[in-house]
Symmetry: C2
């Protein structure tokens, strides 16, 4: 699966990461049936062929009273809505240094990120961020203030990142992370950051820390190769 392709049309993807950041299709191990979507805009209708209620074929149609096309089942009447998903993460700090993980899974294998991943049902955003830290780095963090909310429109995701405290320098590699380490601001591998939302949040983190404040920042980013400067949309403090 090419995570830079907004429209997931066809392919066999093999990945150890079933919950990939910025991968709009969440079952990368499956064969996806071909479907052609409008390539000029983010595909909002990837991968629904059959009704999950009754098993019959679905078709795109705008339900009465609605304003957007949905996958609708003519057999049982079910309407299948698709909505953005939340990625929760945090920037853990220990004695002035930041915990980063080198990704052991696709996409962006080998690139650096702070712990983040898909929020699950039944947990708060903060609990999700703490869980992801545990899963990706074995670190037990204390979640702090809201740092950034980043819309990744083409991936149909909202990234919500928090400041965090790492009480103990206790962490290590996991099945999801090749390496885990602490970095001073000068040591951050800016050219090897996995995702633009991560870079945005890290830069705002250090800016705020230098200014002695804990603001939160909204922006929108698109997928891009690393190293290209961010062009955030609206930043709201």
């Amino acid at each position: 699966m090419n995570p830079d392709s907004p429209c997931v049309t066809a392919g066999i993807a093999q990945s150890r990461d079933r919950r990939n950041l910025q991968s709009p299709d969440q079952s990368p191990d499956t064969v996806i049936q071909a479907r052609v979507c409008d390539a000029s805009r983010p595909c909002e209708h990837a991968r629904m062929n059959f009704c999950s209620n009754c098993g019959q074929r679905v078709a795109l149609a705008t339900p009465p009273g609605d304003h957007l096309p949905r996958f609708v089942c003519a057999s049982c009447g079910a309407i299948h809505y698709e909505n953005p998903k939340i990625i929760a993460g945090c920037v853990p700090e220990y004695e002035g240094r930041i915990l980063l993980c080198r990704r052991g899974i696709e996409p962006r294998l080998g690139f650096w990120t702070f712990p983040a991943g898909f929020m699950e049902n039944g947990e708060t955003v903060q609990q999700a961020a703490a869980r992801e830290s545990r899963e990706e780095s074995l670190a037990e963090v204390e979640i702090g203030s809201l740092l950034a909310v980043v819309h990744v429109l083409s991936a149909r995701q909202v990234h919500m990142f928090f400041r965090a405290r790492l009480p103990l320098a206790s962490f290590g590699p996991t099945p999801e992370s090749l390496e885990v380490g602490l970095f001073s601001e000068a040591e951050i591998p800016w050219g090897e950051i996995a995702f633009p939302s991560i870079e945005f949040a890290l830069r705002r983190y250090f800016q705020d820390r230098a200014a002695g404040r804990e603001d939160h920042h909204f922006t929108s980013v698109e997928r891009r190769p690393p190293g290209i400067p961010l062009q955030p949309g609206k930043t709201h403090v």
Copy 2:
């Protein structure tokens, strides 16, 4: 559909609102196949019988490397993840008064809320909040600062509410709202507020306004009948 039942197990629901707040099932017009979930905790597995990729039966199973049960298709290997959805809304203010809508649709028909609804793919949270204002009240708002993030765990929702400015006193009823009006703080119908997340955000709004600040507030709430005092979990400013 009883929105107070966390586990949607069976039933034929008829509602004009296909995008109901705090209704975990988003296709209320459909016949839902019976399935019994653990009633002691929020149901995270409502309504998936067939694989939306290949149309075969799915079953709950924990995939290798995962830590939670998912709906898995033994036929094509697809894993169907379910994640929280975002409700976006805003508190529009015009010359010190707040715009509220009396719901014209279930659930909570006849109760009051500020404009809010499901965020769609391809829009920011702020754009979603502005769109909902337009759809529910015909009001064109200017979205301001983040007011509240409310986890409604049993509904598998994260409510994100903003302050907003209503430049013109231009609004009116819609298919979703029986009445739309401006209320001073003293006029707010506290006993007739539709949802606890709305009440939480409104109370914080007025508290912050009185104090001359624009903080944001995190909390968790559960479904409840109106009139019962809120017992928010953690409030983070």
